[in-house]
């Protein structure tokens, strides 16, 4: 979620990123949400996600198998043939990085709202973030080679550790407080959910006006890639889970976890690696757009998922 603020600043000068205060504020926001959502979980929820590792395995495959592939296919079928912009390969490189990073907190939030399996979502995020150390560079290496680029990239482990730390600590703390008092847990969960709900329009409102020129100057093939990645990623992963006959709750989780990648991580990695590259603005273009549109796409998908969940809910007579 931090990505959107970063992007706001990015246009002016990538090197300034966001100011420290804004970054701190956003981190607090995200940590509070995860703290609240964690208060709805119990250790048993995680035990169950681990005891039945199929979700985790399928999620791993979709995360590093489907998303980079979907991105690559969009690049070669839409971006490259229809774009006339100079430095298009840099845009493609940014898209590939965006497609190769793991999921982040945003996917946990949308899983929660979609009535998915939050414990599985958190477990998948942690798992794929750990694997990202190997898999993100590997995926990027493979597909950039296909594109004729000779890119190699290494991720600082501290970046990944920060993601995991920022996820595990608040969730564990929330779980602990719920154990202490179910009332405190329930109130925190409500606050976390409410903050999460406010966060979506809040991000859109601050992002769009500040980046209006960027939105206006971007051509459609770039949009198609930035929007298509999330949309196709979620859809493909969803149908794959159906093929494996996963429980609808877990299917929704894997789908969102796959399609929603960690924007802030992609941006942090790009800034760390390409800070001296004069084309960094182009590299950041798709991650920037993706980060906005994934919130819109996920909101729409969440509404569809919630409706499906409601329809599948057991109707028993009102015992009131």
């Amino acid at each position: 979620m931090r990505e959107l603020m970063i992007l706001a600043a990015e246009e002016a000068n990538a090197a300034t990123v966001v100011n420290e205060f804004e970054e701190l504020l956003l981190r607090i926001f995200v940590v509070t949400i995860m703290f609240g959502l964690g208060a709805g979980l119990t250790p048993k929820d995680f035990g169950l996600a681990l005891r039945r590792p199929w979700g985790l395995i399928i999620g791993w495959v979709t995360q590093f198998g489907i998303m980079p592939l979907v991105t690559y296919l969009l690049i070669i079928s839409v971006l490259l043939p229809f774009s006339s912009v100079e430095g298009i390969m840099l845009v493609a490189l940014g898209a590939l990085i965006m497609g190769s990073v793991p999921a982040g907190t945003t996917s946990n939030l949308f899983t929660y709202f979609s009535k998915g399996n939050l414990a599985l979502s958190v477990t998948m995020t942690v798992n794929s973030t750990l694997w990202a150390f190997i898999m993100t560079p590997a995926a990027l290496f493979i597909y950039s080679n296909f594109l004729g680029l000779d890119e190699s990239l290494s991720i600082e482990f501290s970046e990944l550790a920060l993601v995991i730390f920022g996820l595990i600590v608040p969730v564990a703390l929330g779980m602990f407080l719920r154990r202490l008092s179910a009332n405190i847990g329930a109130v925190l969960e409500l606050i976390g959910g409410a903050l999460g709900l406010l966060f979506i329009p809040f991000l859109i409102i601050i992002w769009v006006p500040r980046n209006w020129p960027l939105l206006m100057s971007t051509e459609w093939p770039t949009y198609a890639v930035a929007i298509g990645m999330g949309l196709v990623g979620i859809t493909a992963a969803y149908y794959l889970t159906k093929l494996f006959k996963m429980h609808p709750m877990n299917a929704r989780t894997v789908a969102l976890e796959t399609g929603i990648n960690n924007g802030p991580l992609a941006i942090a990695v790009i800034i760390a690696v390409y800070i001296d590259n004069p084309g960094i603005d182009q590299i950041l273009l798709v991650p920037a757009l993706y980060s906005l549109f994934i919130v819109l796409i996920s909101t729409a998908v969440t509404l569809v998922f919630r409706r499906a969940n409601l329809a599948a809910e057991q109707k028993i007579p009102n015992l009131l």
Partner: protein, 575 residues
């Protein structure tokens, strides 16, 4: 007369006759527990998100004293006055119920989902002078109160007695998010003000002088399935006896001061009223009150956060839980057993429950008119799945023919029962009383059979029996068979008029996947039962009409089917 052959199957610890009970009325019975377990938690109300509030035995005792004083001193009610109570399971319920009983008044439990005409009927018929109602449902009062004798309305909040902050959060959500707080447009007193007034005026007077076993404790309305609802007069003696009878039958499996019982069934229903509210209170258990188990996921947090040892439910509830993934993934670890009643427990559900939880469901049987427990499977003895068990101590049961003569063991006949729990009669309906309670025998209207061990099995409701070309067909049997098929969630079977055979069998099936098909269901039935029993009509429906506790309302199903048959319109619904 049938011999009480079942007595041989009583577990050792179960007395064959009810021991002398020193308590002559419910407040005395409850009072013993209130003193003995005073510091322990008595009731915990759990909301779907886990928010909760708790009252200890001591607190329930004290608050109900205040409410009794309010009724007698402030409102000037006298012994025998009826007080209607209309609320879902919440912490106020025990305070109100015990308060009414302590005041020597009569509790009139009322379903909160009743429509205005139903409320008018029940309040007028009972002659209730006061009503304690949950504010969420008070919007129907303006069209009701004027047509009744109700002089005072007291409103309770769902979050009553919750920790302050949590209570405010729930209130805020109700008001601004779910918008479930309609304005109360009749003059009313807030529950907390009523308690404060009662506290101020408490004089320590004995409101129970002269109240004894024969005194009326509750008017429990019933008969919604036959038409006009009538009040079963349950006395203090009926309810005290039945509480002890029920506990006796479960012997050592209900441990004093240690049980945690999940109360998902509504307390306004006689099953939960006697078993959970009275029975488990008396043994010092902690009642986990769930305001609404709909959808069943509302029970998730209650199961997660409390070490539930007992559960009382109806077939619908057990079945619903077995269809919830969170439940089957992590069945409650501390569960000892569950009690089923209210409707026939399907064998398939009982068997699957045992597989999933590793604990039994003991099925019992009873009617509102019998407070309600008549029979139970003895947990310490032989538990027969599919049977309603053996009569509880001091209770006689037998099957009789149309002339009231006992039939031979193994033959089907109407079940009749006799014991200290049988109601005094129907409130102001002498004729109905006389046709229902004959020489002390309660005629249940259920067809049953007794096996060689003295265990009873319900064959069906007398009035639901289908007559196909002169053969008796019992819908329960067909429902059981179809319900056992994979993919079938629920099924209701009725008889509808047929020119050739008199009546024909019609099945209404709820199946989320529309699988099995109509043809498959019929083929399956052919395999498992005599040809005349096989449904000639199978209709898929989204939902079956049900009573508040989840009994399938066959009458409504029949009315719906007849309406469809008589109208040529394709749009009319079958159920």
């Amino acid at each position: 007369m049938t011999d009480a052959i079942w007595l041989d199957h009583y577990p050792q610890e179960v007395a064959k006759e009810l021991p002398e009970i020193p308590h002559h009325h419910l407040p005395s019975l409850m009072g013993e527990a209130s003193k003995k377990y005073s510091g322990q938690k008595a009731f915990t109300q759990v909301m779907p998100n886990g928010m909760n509030g708790t009252l200890t035995y001591e607190k329930v005792d004290e608050l109900s004293d205040h409410f009794a004083a309010y009724l007698r001193e402030e409102l000037g009610l006298v012994q025998g006055d009826r007080v209607a109570v209309q609320m879902p399971n919440c912490l106020s319920y025990p305070v109100v119920a015990f308060g009414i009983l302590k005041a020597g008044c009569v509790i009139v439990n009322t379903n909160p989902l009743y429509t205005a005409p139903e409320m008018v009927h029940q309040f007028r018929d009972s002659g209730a002078k006061a009503l304690v109602v949950i504010d969420m449902f008070a919007d129907r009062l303006p069209e009701v109160i004027g047509k009744t004798n109700i002089e005072t309305v007291v409103t309770v909040k769902i979050s009553e007695f919750f920790p302050a902050v949590v209570g405010k959060v729930i209130r805020g959500v109700q008001r601004y998010w779910s918008r479930s707080l309609p304005p109360v447009e009749v003059s009313h007193t807030l529950f907390k003000d009523a308690l404060a007034k009662g506290k101020a005026q408490a004089s320590g007077k004995d409101y129970l002088e002269g109240i004894g076993r024969g005194s009326l404790a509750a008017l429990q309305y019933t008969g919604g399935t036959t038409g006009v609802s009538k009040g079963a007069m349950l006395t203090h003696g009926n309810l005290v006896s039945n509480t002890i009878q029920m506990l006796q039958m479960n012997g050592k499996y209900i441990q004093e001061g240690k049980e945690i019982v999940l109360t998902a069934l509504p307390l306004y229903h006689i099953f939960a009223f006697t078993v959970n509210l009275l029975g488990f209170y008396y043994v010092g258990a902690r009642n986990i009150l769930v305001p609404s188990p709909r959808p069943p996921s509302n029970l998730k947090r209650a199961f997660e956060n409390y070490k539930v040892t007992w559960l009382s439910g109806v077939n619908t509830l057990f079945n619903a839980l077995l269809n919830e993934r969170w439940f089957t993934d992590r069945p409650p670890k501390h569960l000892v057993a569950s009690a089923a009643g209210g409707m026939a427990l399907h064998e398939s559900v009982a068997t699957k429950w045992q597989e999933v939880t590793g604990t039994p469901i003991v099925e019992g049987y009873g009617l509102t008119e019998s407070s309600p427990v008549i029979s139970f499977n003895p947990l310490g003895g032989k538990v027969k799945i599919g049977s309603i068990g053996i009569p509880v101590p001091s209770t006689l049961m037998r099957c009789v023919d149309e002339n009231g003569k006992p039939v031979k063991q193994g033959e089907a006949g109407e079940l009749v029962a006799k014991g200290p729990q049988i109601m005094k009669g129907y409130w102001q309906r002498e004729d109905e009383t006389n046709s229902t309670v004959v020489d002390g025998w309660l005629h249940t209207g259920d067809i049953g059979e007794m096996d060689e061990d003295g265990y009873f099995t319900i064959v069906d409701r007398k009035k639901d029996m289908i007559l196909v070309s002169g053969f008796n067909v019992y819908p329960n049997q067909i429902e059981e068979t179809i319900a056992a098929m994979d993919g079938v969630t629920e099924v209701g079977v009725i008889g509808i008029p047929d020119e050739k055979s008199g009546e024909k069998v019609a099945a209404f099936v709820v199946s989320s996947l529309q699988e099995p098909s109509r043809e498959e269901i019929i083929a399956y039935c052919r395999e498992h039962m005599a040809a005349y029993k096989v449904p000639s009509m199978v209709t898929f429906v989204d939902e079956l009409p049900k009573s508040p506790i989840g009994k399938i309302l066959r009458r409504e199903l029949r009315d719906g089917a007849l309406a469809t048959a008589s109208s040529s319109s394709d749009t009319s619904k079958g159920a």
